[in-house]
Symmetry: C2
Subunit: 204 residues, 2 copies
């Protein structure tokens, strides 16, 4: 029997297990024993492959941050008009978060815990995403395509409405009485609702 995908070697099993445990419990809450159990191996092997807990955590965090910070630059640089870009961003970003619902809380907890560490290790030589976005908004205002709006607030509003529902999911399910299936449908709607809400607010 030939293995098509090499996803069951020990390091791969460990990384998959570590991702699951760290994302749901965070650095401080996760136990090396939890990860070993999840991977179906024992603690010593974790240290054999990944030196210590911090190294293992950094691999997971590095990987997660690559997913979390979207390749928004290519959307902004594209030929599409602003409204199409907003629609595309909301749809694709919410879709990615739907597949990685623990990502936002995980990333934001770590950045809050160690902002300087994050800035040094993960925010060097990044695309100036916000500046590009801001420049495009200013241009659209100048050309009278949209109402005058503050780009910073617009950007934060968009990001907030995309991300927050995943952070607040359990709370919102209690408040609204939704079950898992209803919540899934709710998120499905948001892939278009959020962009529409923004466009209604800024269009002339």
């Amino acid at each position: 029997m030939v293995k098509i995908l090499q996803n069951d070697t020990s390091p791969e099993k460990i990384l998959a297990a570590a991702k699951k445990v760290f994302l749901s419990k965070g650095m401080a809450g996760a136990r090396m024993q939890d990860i070993a159990d999840e991977a179906g191996i024992n603690k010593a092997l974790l240290h054999y492959y990944f030196k210590d807990k911090e190294k293992l955590f950094e691999m997971i965090f590095s990987d997660a941050s690559k997913q979390f910070f979207p390749k928004i630059a290519e959307i902004i640089d594209s030929k599409a008009n602003l409204f199409e870009k907003i629609e595309k961003f909301c749809r694709e970003y919410i879709d990615m978060l739907q597949q990685n619902p623990y990502l936002p809380l995980f990333i934001l907890n770590e950045v809050n815990a160690q902002p300087l560490n994050f800035k040094e290790k993960f925010w060097k030589n990044r695309e100036p995403v916000f500046l590009k976005f801001s420049a495009q908004i200013d241009k659209e205002i100048k050309n009278k395509k949209i109402k005058p709006v503050n780009p910073a607030h617009l950007f934060v509003n968009m990001i907030s409405m995309c991300i927050f529902p995943f952070i607040g999911k359990p709370l919102w399910m209690i408040v609204s009485g939704m079950d898992e299936i209803q919540f899934r449908y709710f998120i499905e709607q948001r892939k278009t609702e959020v962009a529409q809400f923004i466009i209604e607010s800024i269009k002339k």
Copy 2:
């Protein structure tokens, strides 16, 4: 010398210290030693007054959740029109969060970690806030005061835009290049910006 405010007894010092430490580090990250140091007393006294770490945490969480879940019902029940209610809510809620910036991440981490525990202990016999909000929105749509919108998305959008900036603060400061003073001004603006953004989107 007469003590006007009894805020320096041991239990009070402990609660103040525990709030500070738990809100910034969370349950798993906080150390009883940190709390004792912050309160200027020793560890044994924590246990003398509050039995164990979990009991102390629950007192802080219970107190924090009372702040976090706004008395929105009285705003909804008031005579003001919908737009004034939205303005009032955003202004007052953002203002409260400005004074308690760690509150959202603290509450949401705990609810995510133990949703059932939260529901049992802290969500019994609560006002059906969302239902009231939803009913009012439906009424306004019927009376053709606002465009047809889905109340659930409108509610989540409003909450998202109020709360998320505090969860994402350190990240946003890195991305935007703001310093503390600029961020404070940014939040000050949001007290009116968020409501305006919503109203622009739903008004006829």
